[in-house]
């Protein structure tokens, strides 16, 4: 099980994830993201990955799908606080260049 927290910051939603993001938990995370986007309809969805120790390809797939769906609805998805192992996975898959990635949550919310 992942520990997932969501909160609202004005017109932005923040989803903070803690744990290992792999095939077993993608359904759980997908539901939270879907619900957040549907109910809050945020202009900006920030996903804080600070507590993520590992992410596998299904986790990456989920984030990409989230970005694509937020894009379609005219919103933005920002990622922030990638720990070193997660950063490595993003680099390897070149996703560092696919997402807007920020060092801190404040930066992600500011969209700097």
């Amino acid at each position: 099980m992942l520990n997932i927290q969501t909160r609202q910051e004005g017109t932005s939603s923040v989803v903070s994830i803690q744990g290992k993001v792999n095939f077993e938990v993608t359904a759980q995370l997908r539901d939270v993201i879907r619900e957040t986007v549907a109910t809050a309809q945020p202009k900006l969805l920030a996903i804080n990955l600070e507590g993520v120790s590992f992410i596998d390809s299904s986790g990456l797939g989920l984030l990409v799908a989230a970005r694509n769906s937020v894009d379609k609805s005219g919103g933005k998805l920002h990622l922030c606080c990638l720990p070193a192992p997660v950063k490595k996975t993003f680099d390897q898959t070149n996703l560092t260049n696919y997402f807007s990635i920020f060092a801190t949550e404040q930066d992600a919310l500011r969209g700097a």
Partner: protein, 388 residues
């Protein structure tokens, strides 16, 4: 139609009569027996749903009858209620430990017995329904299992036949799907000009969907290679194919390579996949140093517009290439560490000659490292040796 069949066993005719009267009036079919022996004879002729039996009877007591009914697989499921003058918790436990399903203390009210019979039949009905559903589920599961086995066999058929051989390379694989069928695939294709095309891919997720997409990835790769061109063009074409035909969260990481045995150049594209290892002179085995064929690029299937990059490395006769999917190095151990690329390189620092022996050694040492954890994701390892 009767609501069910009750066998009343008691040596006192008056009790048999009272119970028969009430039960028949309530719509049950009633059979009677004067002792355990008669009850067994009755059961040989007909099949009650429920037995209500006295304990103390001549010839065969109620506890002996209960033991026999409950120890015979053919009658084990028949509900057994003991009627007993021995009141109190001790005898109640005694009766239930014989295997009886319930007890009614004597003296009893006929209404009490009736209420218990009614509730028992509700239970019996529920049990029958559960058994029926269970049977259906088991049959369904069996069908699914058979189809999965068939699918797994078909998928094995998509992998190259071993031992693998192309004009300039010799190779083998270890393919360990996480759940019968998996999302890993690889291919080695000899080209008309003497070159060799290679691909290894890992589709996100597990199971049937991933397996279907992996078959698609292979077909797409073969189509691209047939059209000629280079790994860069293959990656772009495969990416477009996958974007067109997969759903939101389905992607594949892949590594695509083109070996020219004349120039000894290996051109490759990394599409989000684990970088392979090259071991110079590795085919002869022994102590060696591996290098990582670095490169980065997007996974296939994200967006048809994304660019890829081609890289170039030397691959000489006698060199060895280790291709793998992340399931090999990403097993979390009890101490929360994983083998990772660095660990795989340590294992590859000394491997036997012969691709099969080397592959076996890598898998064995990886398993030893992970223990007691086991592979949880699809695992594919390909050892490819350049012929001398």
């Amino acid at each position: 139609m009767a609501k069910g069949v009750v066998l009343v066993v008691d040596d006192e005719a008056s009790i048999r009569d009272i119970l028969s009267f009430y039960l028949k009036r309530a719509g049950y079919q009633v059979l009677t027996a004067g002792n355990g022996q008669e009850a067994l004879e009755e059961m040989a002729r007909s099949r009650p749903d429920l037995i209500i039996s006295d304990l103390r009877m001549p010839e065969m007591s109620g506890d002996e009858l209960c033991k026999r009914v409950k120890s015979d697989p053919a009658t084990r499921d028949v509900y057994f209620i003991i009627l007993s003058a021995l009141d109190g918790t001790a005898s109640r436990i005694g009766g239930l430990s014989l295997g009886a399903d319930d007890m009614i203390p004597k003296p009893f009210h006929a209404q009490e017995v009736l209420a218990k019979v009614e509730s028992t039949f509700r239970l019996i009905a529920m049990q029958k329904e559960i058994k029926r559903q269970n049977k259906e589920l088991t049959a369904f599961q069996e069908r699914v299992r058979e189809e999965m086995e068939l699918a797994a066999a078909l998928q094995m058929g998509l992998l190259p036949k071993l031992p693998g051989e192309a004009p300039s390379v010799r190779y083998t694989h270890c393919y360990l799907p996480a759940s019968g069928i998996g999302g890993d695939i690889y291919a080695v294709l000899p080209l008309p000009d003497g070159c060799t095309a290679m691909m290894i891919a890992d589709v996100s997720g597990h199971g049937v969907t991933a397996a279907l997409i992996s078959a698609m990835v292979k077909t797409s790769f073969e189509n691209q290679v047939r059209q000629g061109g280079e790994p860069l063009a293959w990656a772009q074409g495969m990416n477009e194919d996958l974007c067109r035909s997969t759903l939101a969260e389905q992607f594949a990481t892949a590594w695509l390579g083109h070996l020219d045995p004349v120039t000894n150049h290996l051109r490759y594209v990394v599409a989000g996949h684990c970088a392979p290892l090259r071991i110079a002179g590795g085919a002869k085995g022994g102590l060696q140093r591996s290098e990582v064929l670095r490169g980065k690029g997007f996974m296939l299937g994200l967006d048809p517009q994304l660019p890829f990059m081609e890289h170039d490395a030397e691959f000489l006769p006698g060199d060895r290439l280790v291709l793998y999917t992340d399931g090999l190095v990403e097993v979390e151990r009890e101490d929360r560490t994983m083998l990772e690329e660095a660990g795989l390189r340590r294992i590859c620092a000394e491997l036997p000659a012969g691709a099969e022996e080397a592959a076996d050694a890598v898998i064995a040492q990886t398993r030893a490292f992970n223990q007691p954890a086991t592979f949880g994701d699809d695992v594919t390892l390909v050892i490819l040796d350049r012929k001398n």
